[in-house]
Amino acid sequence: MLIEIRKEPFNGYKEIEHYENNLGITGKFGATASFIGSMRDFNDGREIEKMFLEYYPKMTEKALSEISTTAKKKWDLIEILLLHRVGNISIGDHIVLVSVWSAHRKEAFEGCRFIMEELKSNAPFWKKEKTSIGENWVEKNTSGI
């Protein structure tokens, strides 16, 4: 299981490939489910230029670890990769990557979704958007269900 807060841009697709190649679990899993969240250039009908992501050092990592551990047990996941950006984010940047490996697809789909939804509700991150008319904190996440 790898959980990291990243201050620099990352490519989620390359991260998945790199992580899986180094796991040494070829043949041990039958399903991989991944979610990548990217930075949009619009929100609530407004054009967004940039974004800043604040977090609560140590608590954020702790929350992500607890969420992942719960998912690993509940869906018997073999492996989890969870990366989340903080700091200054540009349009198109990957913000979050959740990738899970399991024996079968049901566990992979459900475990991946659980991690994302729990992260959205409970992990201490806050987005501040910059538009042409100023900056504002995002007040709430959209529902994913």
Partner: protein
Amino acid sequence: MQVTIKYFASLRELMGESSRIINIDEKSSVDDIWQLLKDSKQVELDNVMATVNMEYVKNDKELKEGDEVAFFPPVTGG
């Protein structure tokens, strides 16, 4: 007794500081100290998330010496 207070995001900007150490009465709860800290600001604890030592808690959670209490708005990661 002393506890450390932390604020994040819009609440940090509203309070004008990111952290401070305060002296509080024994058996004070999270809600007790929020009433002191918010001063004249019209922000109710119902609209704020609170943690003690990095765990989410209810507003009536009783505090202990050395606790780290954080207040922040609803989270918006992912």
